[in-house]
């Protein structure tokens, strides 16, 4: 009986470990290949390169123009996340605590929007941005991306605010705090757990976003990394190590954020609310 149990557990571990290796291998290969040269990449087949060639990174960063695109990605990610946090928490506070005609209807509209898939709505978005002279501008992209994360973030904030005790607000109100003041001084500081989830998920979405950036930007100098990679890929199609260096540069911040904020990501996915995030991610990725 005992032996049977041990063998069973061993088999389970074998399965889990082999899947884990499959998960890691392509990424390790990518990083390792980025340190090789065009000559050694197919001869030196081990994951740990014999010599470390950093020149791929230098080349990609400078001549490949990845430095600018990297900064663009950082800029878009921070501005969009900042915008979403402010706008979504303001709206969620109103939906959760304030009374005004049309409140539930408006909230319902936001929530339904999360669930209706609109494949190919990048077409009218392109037309719209052209009309507003916002195409090929960072502002146009940032506004579009704020919209992408908005309804899920409102939903997350609202469910959190709904569960918060009202006593703190009452105390603040007695002390003469305005509604704006309560939102800023009471609600936002107390919503750190949900804030972390909103920030991490939206940051990953913006960093990884491809299609809108592809549609919106013509100029290389405005492009975020994901689109620049595709251009870069076309230019240096046979230079694998260089391309892998570009991929690693693009992936590195994601790995860092993932390992640092892992707790919030798992919490985000597993807390029932983020079933909706998933749903909307799938829907809005296409937008």
């Amino acid at each position: 009986m005992r032996i049977k149990k041990i063998t069973f557990n061993l088999l389970i571990h074998l399965l889990l470990i082999s899947v884990a290796i499959t998960c890691l291998y392509p990424l390790l290969w990518m990083v390792s290949a980025s340190f090789k040269t065009q000559d050694t990449i197919f001869k030196d087949i081990f994951l740990i390169p014999k010599q470390l060639h950093f020149e791929n990174y230098v080349f990609a960063w400078q001549k490949g123009g990845f430095g600018i695109n990297f900064l663009n990605s950082i800029f878009y990610t921070t501005s969009v996340v900042f915008g979403i946090v402010i706008i979504a928490s303001l709206a969620a506070y109103a939906f959760s605590r304030l009374r005004f005609p049309g409140r539930s209807l408006l909230f319902l509209v936001f929530i339904t929007a999360m669930m209706i898939p609109v494949p190919g709505s990048f077409v009218p978005l392109y037309v719209l941005l052209n009309k507003l002279h916002l195409r090929n501008t960072p502002l146009g992209y940032i506004l579009c991306m704020i919209n992408v994360g908005l309804s899920t973030s409102i939903f997350l904030f609202k469910t959190f605010f709904d569960k918060m005790p009202k006593e703190l607000e009452d105390a603040a109100r007695i002390d003469g705090c305005s509604k704006m003041g309560i939102w800023w001084h009471v609600m936002l500081p107390l919503s750190k757990p949900v804030l972390a989830v909103v920030v991490v998920f939206n940051a990953l979405t913006v960093w990884n976003e491809y299609i809108l950036a592809f549609i919106i930007f013509d100029s290389r100098k405005f492009m975020p990394l994901q689109v620049a990679l595709q251009v870069f890929q076309g230019e240096f199609v046979t230079n694998y190590p260089l391309l892998m260096a570009g991929l690693t540069i693009t992936a590195l911040p994601v790995i860092l954020v993932y390992f640092l904020m892992q707790k919030y990501i798992v919490k985000g996915v597993t807390s029932g609310a983020v079933f909706f995030i998933l749903l909307s991610l799938n829907v809005f990725v296409i937008l």
Binding site: W183, L278, V285
Partner: protein
């Protein structure tokens, strides 16, 4: 006073409503509107011709590439529904037990989903599509003494779509895994205890407790898989390249090429609507089906 307070409250939702109306509601209406026109997106809209249902008729009766793309997406989705979710469930079930390194596995399995589809696509492209070089699968065949199985998986039309589907599953199973795991963890342990006291073996308690309680979660995962897999296309751009190749084309890529390639904005919108409706209908059927099963 009450009116003023209401007005003040609107200020809180105003930025959200503004952005949402301009960048979601307006394009949504615009898609419906444009789908009835023949418009190249360049000339002023006044010169566009009204087609009535023309675009939709063309999609249904006169666009074999579109239907090919639909079949391709359906194939990818089917593979994802079966293999990706089966794997996700199996792994979640394994991690739900008292087992060492549970957190480590959970950490690793969610790595593929956090990377962008472009990064994943390009990285895999150079792992599986190079015959003499880094192709790990080919090298394994060679090492096992079957060099004739070596193959350029992504260039051959026969294997390209399946290869895409496999990479898609690799990227996606982490989502299902986390949701299944969360679902399994909500099942009270006392139920299993009680079943064991009553003399049920592991298989019986799995069948009688785990499976029925996991149906809602499974439906959720299935709907998400269908929506995600049917609409995935960036991964294909990374894996196969931007030339919208026929045998790996999917509907969203067709929409993109209607817009970018042939400058038919109205047609692209019509494609988007028909595809969106197909997705809504499939999700709805899945939902109704699950309700029936639970009852």
């Amino acid at each position: 006073m009450k009116f003023k307070s209401s007005l003040e409250n609107y200020v809180f939702v105003l930025p959200a409503v503004l952005i949402f109306s301009i960048f979601y509601i307006y394009p949504f209406i615009q898609v419906l509107f444009l789908s009835f026109f023949d418009w190249d997106g360049i000339v002023s809209f006044k010169d566009a011709t009204f087609l009535g249902w023309g675009n939709f008729k063309e999609i249904i009766f006169d666009d074999p590439i579109w239907w090919q793309a639909m079949r391709n997406a359906g194939y990818i989705t089917l593979i994802a529904l079966i293999f990706q979710n089966l794997l996700a469930f199996l792994l979640a079930w394994a991690c739900d037990r008292e087992i060492r390194m549970k957190n480590f596995y959970r950490l690793i399995f969610f790595i593929p989903p956090v990377f962008s589809e472009i990064v994943v696509g390009l990285a895999w492209r150079f792992i599986i599509n190079d015959v003499e070089g880094a192709n790990i699968i080919n090298r394994m065949f060679a090492a096992m003494g079957h060099p004739n199985f070596m193959h350029s998986w992504l260039s051959d039309p026969k294997t390209a779509l399946t290869t895409v589907a496999v990479v898609h599953c690799w990227k996606g199973f982490g989502w299902g895994f986390l949701i299944f795991l969360a679902g399994l963890q909500t099942i009270p342990r006392e139920l299993y205890e009680a079943a064991r006291v009553d003399g049920a073996n592991a298989w019986e308690s799995f069948k009688k407790i785990t499976v029925p309680l996991m149906i809602p979660v499974t439906v959720l995962v299935a709907i998400l898989t269908v929506l995600g897999s049917m609409q995935s296309f960036v991964l294909i751009l990374g894996l196969v390249g931007g030339e919208f190749a026929g045998h790996t084309s999917v509907p969203v890529l067709r929409i993109l090429s209607s817009m970018r390639g042939s400058s038919r904005f109205g047609y692209a919108c019509a494609q988007g609507i028909s595809f969106g409706m197909v997705l809504v209908i499939i999700s709805f059927i899945q939902y109704r089906f699950s309700k029936k099963v639970t009852e």
